[in-house]
């Protein structure tokens, strides 16, 4: 057990080995992705793939963990800021920045033990979940939103574990065709969504906890709900009521009939 890990030794005798051998992916390294990256570095994950095509700007200062005036002045890519953030904590960790959309270098996600989705919008979430299900990679999605009412604002969010073989984001009702259609209709006209750091930090910590419950469960009877909702006006994170309706029901969207792997792996005309 490494000196740095003594206080997390309850995670198991071989926890250092498991963590240093683990690979994670973080899609979106802004308000949600950077606190996940920071926590991942503290925990000691061996390899991290960071995906984000954007560069830092002044309006990221209020939520992007690790941002600096130098980064803003020189318009550093967000993945560079996040890489430096992680290296400051854990120089032994391998951090691979991909300053592009995940679709451009998607193959690295196949080697991941867990992928964190910290993106805006349902279309990209749907596409990412479909992709990861093909390669049996667990996905943990977080996000927050602010809604304006007559009496003020409501902050809400979610942390979802989409585990291959179990329920997906469609089962949870989080992704629905009408939402995808509405988003597609508004394409290019979505506007900027309100974001603040404290809900993102709470959801990021929850996401990291979900990942640890998968890789290094600290209790033999962990019953972590896979769909957690965040009420930012009550500061509560609770299992979604929708889970009650899924008891005893298998995922209908990614069943055994969905073929895994590359569609045309090594395809030859001679194959039946």
């Amino acid at each position: 057990m490494k000196e740095r890990s003594k206080r997390q030794s309850f995670l198991g005798e071989h926890s250092d080995e498991v963590l240093s051998g683990a690979t994670i992916g973080i899609i979106g390294t802004s308000g949600g992705g950077t606190p996940i990256a920071q926590a991942a570095a503290h925990i000691g994950f061996g390899t991290t793939h960071l995906f984000d095509p954007d560069f830092t700007e002044e309006h990221h200062r209020h939520r992007l963990v690790g941002i600096s005036s130098v980064a803003i002045k020189h318009r550093w890519k967000k993945v560079r800021v996040t890489q430096r953030l992680m290296w400051r904590v854990n120089p032994e960790g391998r951090v691979n920045p991909h300053a592009c959309a995940w679709q451009e270098e998607h193959e690295v996600l196949r080697s991941c033990d867990v992928v964190f989705s910290c993106v805006d919008g349902y279309l990209v979430r749907d596409e990412l979940e479909r992709y990861l299900r093909r390669y049996h990679v667990p996905l943990i999605d977080i996000g927050m939103d602010v809604t304006k009412y007559e009496t003020g604002h409501s902050i809400r969010g979610q942390a979802i574990l989409s585990l291959p073989g179990s329920h997906c984001m469609r089962c949870f009702g989080f992704i629905r065709d009408e939402l995808l259609q509405e988003e597609a209709r508004r394409y290019g006209d979505a506007g900027e969504r309100a974001q603040v750091i404290w809900p993102n930090a709470a959801l990021a910590s929850t996401a990291i906890g979900l990942a640890m419950s998968l890789l290094l469960p600290w209790h033999s009877h962990l019953t972590v709900a896979p769909y957690l909702t965040y009420d930012g006006n009550k500061f509560e994170i609770t299992p979604s009521p929708r889970l009650r309706h899924l008891e005893g029901i298998a995922c209908k969207h990614y069943g055994s009939s969905v073929h895994a792997g590359d569609l045309r792996y090594g395809a030859r005309a001679s194959d039946g």
Binding site: S111, H136, L216, P217, V224, A260, D262, Y265, D271
Partner: protein
């Protein structure tokens, strides 16, 4: 070369349950796992467990020299399943102990006999054999009928919790 097999926990559980059933005369059971295949960002192959194909009791052949012997009909059934939908075929049986198993001399001999036949049905996919223990595995894979043999390097079991078996 990295050869990784990734299985969902419910599928692995089903395989164990099936292989543990006693047979009227065979000392052990065998079956076939069909898999999707994918490339990785490093040289290697990712195999993704898709379906388990049970060998029916009547498709075993009495042979006191080996733990289990199956007839041509058992092979034809799995070939039928992958015909038209290319898939990797792994011949699977179990050594009932903990820790990493090994191939017996009989395993070595028999898989060299039957694995080349898998390529007659699906040439584009790798094929091979897998031996499970209670908590680990050993596997051999070929990318061509009479080509080089590759050892399975890791098995990822996706469930709650996830497990990663690093194979020697």
């Amino acid at each position: 070369m990295m050869i990784c097999l990734r299985l969902l926990e419910p599928l692995l559980k089903r395989i164990h349950e099936d292989l543990e059933r006693p047979h009227p005369f065979a000392a052990e059971r065998v079956g076939f796992l069909t898999c999707g295949a994918a490339t990785l960002d490093i040289p290697g192959i990712l195999l993704l467990g898709e379906a388990w194909h049970t060998v029916e009791d009547k498709d075993y052949v009495e042979d006191p020299r080996v733990g289990a012997c199956i007839g041509g009909r058992a092979f034809r059934k799995v070939f039928q399943a992958v015909y038209g939908e290319p898939a990797t075929i792994l011949h699977v049986h179990k050594h009932d102990h903990g820790g990493q198993p090994g191939f017996s001399l009989t395993d070595e001999r028999s898989m060299r006999e039957f694995v080349p036949g898998f390529f007659n049905v699906c040439r584009s996919r790798p094929h091979g054999a897998l031996v499970l223990s209670r908590d680990s595995a050993v596997g051999a894979l070929w990318t061509e009928a009479n080509g080089r043999r590759y050892a399975l390097t890791t098995v990822d079991v996706i469930g709650r919790p996830c497990q990663k078996w690093r194979l020697a």
